[in-house]
Symmetry: C2
Subunit: 492 residues, 2 copies
């Protein structure tokens, strides 16, 4: 008997320990959750005072219930979500009230049976129409809750008006208490330890840039790592690389919700402009595109047959350097967003250019892997194609014309390191991408290390996508009026 | 004056036309939306009868309002969502009612001031605790709405109990009306033109498989297409290929919502087993992984420098064949899911094997592109590595041991077509993946056409990922007790 008792007590203690750890974990992950819970508790207690305190109750009466309902339903985790819901609720109630009184005004003159039929028909029509409206993408995105509340209020008022005489007074009182409820919610969410959706979006964008930077570096390091590659399952959940890009790839719907909520938030800023939340979504989209390349790069680590290590080792330093540079650019972008200042585009593209040239010459420096112009016929085809593409680029941008000759030389792998040393002089960030692709095709002119070729080409493709990311972050900086890049930071 | 009038009328007509087209478009996209709207209208009218008809009103009284509210809030587009909300609402109300009465029972004995303080404290504590609970992932996922309703009901009852005497009666009446409301909702959503979340999930999985099939085929065709590649922006929204994989890549959150709702749905099935909705999520995940490869393959179409067309043309037929085979497999998988019957794994892997061998020999048949064992030292390294990997595989699966010799020969590109013709005899689907990778590295042993090398390696990588998709669909078939594959369909 005593033993059973002890067993039971032990089980209860184990369970309580487990519960406590779960509770603690949720709170430690984001301490704002604890604060938010206390805020909701406080708001509910405040709104209950309407009912509990005699003088306040005299003012509102039974309708205080509506204030309680409003607080429960409207008070959300972030200020943006609360504002969006509160305004939707207010607007929906107001519109529904007006329409309901209009209908009541029409139906009131007639007899009881006719009124019942009329009310029924109105409920059916408005109910169907409002539900149908909720399928419109624009309304679904911004005003779904408002339409729901509209429908709710409209039905309540229309239906009760059939029985109750002074509906107008009831509705007015109810509206007041809803306003009180919304007011308490806004007070709590905007003034007491506010959580901003915009801030979350901002931080998650920074976090995504940083995890991608981490990912790229680990991928490249793992590829050339000395440790034997383990045949991990391709979507193992304990893998840090997978964790890194998963956050980025799955971010779409969260980002969109946050941006939508953020667009309701009042945002103090120096120039009183609207903060460009939509641009964060665009940055997120390019980051996802970049993430797809990381996934493909990751795939190279996991194919069963690899380029033998001795061959890979030849390109280790230059690849790792390129990986580091890409990672550095991503970190610089994340710092730029974090500190709200522009980055220096020159420094970024110069160093990446150098790393690419480095990889290029590393590949060329291996004569037994490099084929050069051995097959003159093919070389001619390549040259023709290159000139053709040059012409096309020239037509597109008009920037590249002076270097056409030099570039087709690059394509053919005939260009020496000294010539390529002059390239960063062109300076224009816009020309980064076409050059990258050229270097890519140059880099690929070797024969044995072909699984490595796919790796290198994906690495270079990734640099091309990095360019899109840079563009969008730059645009973000422009739209959000980031601080100017300080000359002190620039590497002269 | 008349002209102004005409202008105005014209504008109104234009606006009405625009509105009508918008309304028409939403309905044409999914006619179930129209039906759902009419269902909501009908349900609301039905529930209004509680108020409008004298005998019914005598039974429910003012509380009929709660039935109206329930219908507005609970009736959702799909049966699963309605059930989930309805059950959550019922459960939340019941729990909250019990707890509220317990608290009232304790506080009732004491004086008015103490009771007010006690009620206030209870509201604060329960409010904070319930809000905190909503952050638990498990609760957030399944019972978020239930906790909300619990909080709402608890507050309403606790607070009103301070003023009103017969709270128990009110609460009981209210509960009845909520049950009536839920009942009408369930009736409408389960019996009148029901929309099943599970069916949506099923169809969207089929649709995703089909769009990927389309994508792969268009990608390969475009790569070898005669028309000049246009420099489209990489995320242009009018691009059919982009549209195809975008649906797949963005499907995560929609799929999870549908699967969650589907898990609430009662599902008639032959063996009375639970339908494996979670497996659909897994299939979706592998499809996204496959989609990343399609994105990378797509990247090959858009790099500025391409392998010259004459070289590409050499591999056109075999690549297009492989693309067609991949596409065919995806279509077969989608048919298998659509018709709930198993597919024949043998046919799938055999034909893909053949297509891969075809590509392999196409690449070998070009002596000027193929280097073979010219560099004996490197060849030796490759051989060592291959043997090493073979040993590793042998340890992993124990399936490959008899073919070790033959396979390392494949890696070295020394295997003839006739030997490879014997391979499909092994039959085992599980060995598809390692073989694929081997063929990949074989296929890549050529020098000039290196941007093409990346394309081919991605194509082969894609086949490896296809294997994961096949596995998951097979598992789905097993879990959902698909019909046996009919022998008549098999190609002997």
């Amino acid at each position: 008997m005593k033993k059973q008792m002890n067993d039971f007590v032990e089980k209860v203690i184990t369970f309580l320990g487990f519960l406590w750890r779960a509770v603690w974990k949720v709170g430690r992950e984001d301490p704002r959750r604890v604060i938010h819970s206390l805020k909701v508790g406080t708001a509910l207690t405040l709104v209950s005072l309407l009912y509990l305190m005699e003088p306040l109750f005299k003012g509102t009466g039974e309708n205080a219930m509506w204030a309680v309902m409003t607080v429960v339903v409207v008070l959300e985790f972030t200020a943006g979500a609360t504002l969006s819901k509160g305004l939707n609720r207010g607007l929906g109630t107001l519109l529904a009230g007006s329409l309901a009184f209009f209908i009541e005004y029409i139906s009131d003159a007639s007899g009881s049976i006719f009124q019942a039929v009329f009310v029924g028909a109105a409920v059916f029509l408005i109910g169907s129409a409002a539900t149908y409206m909720r399928f419109f993408p624009l309304i679904k995105k911004n005003y779904d809750y408002g339409v729901l509340i509209f429908l709710l209020t409209f039905n309540l008022i229309t239906v009760s008006s059939y029985r109750v005489e002074n509906v107008l007074k009831i509705a007015r009182d109810r509206f007041y208490t809803i306003v009180i409820g919304c007011g308490i919610c806004l007070l709590m969410s905007l003034l007491v330890f506010p959580n901003w959706s915009g801030e979350d979006l901002h931080n998650s964008t920074i976090f995504k840039l940083e995890s991608l930077a981490q990912c790229v570096e680990s991928c490249v390091n793992e590829y050339f790592g000395t440790a034997e590659l383990e045949a991990t399952k391709y979507n193992s959940s304990e893998d840090p690389i997978y964790e890194g890009y998963k956050t980025v790839l799955d971010s779409k719907s969260i980002d969109e919700t946050l941006a939508l909520q953020a667009s309701w938030e009042p945002r103090y800023s120096r120039c009183c402009h609207r903060y460009p939340w939509q641009q964060y979504i665009k940055v997120g989209a390019t980051l996802r595109q970049f993430g797809y390349s990381v996934v493909a790069l990751r795939g190279c680590l996991q194919t069963e047959i690899q380029t033998p290590r001795p061959i890979r080792a030849l390109f280790k330093d230059s690849c790792i350097r390129l990986g580091k540079e890409v990672s550095k650019v991503l970190k610089e972008l994340s710092d730029s967003i974090r500190n709200n200042h522009h980055f220096s585009p020159g420094v970024l593209s110069d160093q990446i250019q150098e790393a690419l040239q480095d990889l290029n010459s590393a590949i060329k420096s291996q004569p037994r892997l490099f084929l050069g112009s051995k097959y003159s016929q093919t070389a001619k085809i390549v040259q023709e194609s290159a000139v053709h593409l040059e012409e096309k680029h020239e037509g597109d941008s008009g920037v590249l014309s002076p270097s056409t000759e030099a570039n087709s030389a690059t394509v053919l792998g005939l260009k020496t390191r000294s010539t390529s040393g002059e390239q960063p002089k062109e300076g224009e960030q816009k020309v980064l991408r076409p050059q990258l692709s050229k270097i890519a095709s140059t880099s690929l002119e070797f024969s044995e290390a072909l699984p490595f070729a796919a790796f290198a080409s994906l690495l270079v493709e990734m640099v091309a996508k990095l360019d899109h990311v840079i563009e969008e972050v730059e645009e973000l900086g422009r739209m959000a009026h980031f601080k100017e890049f300080r000359d002190g930071d620039e590497i002269v």
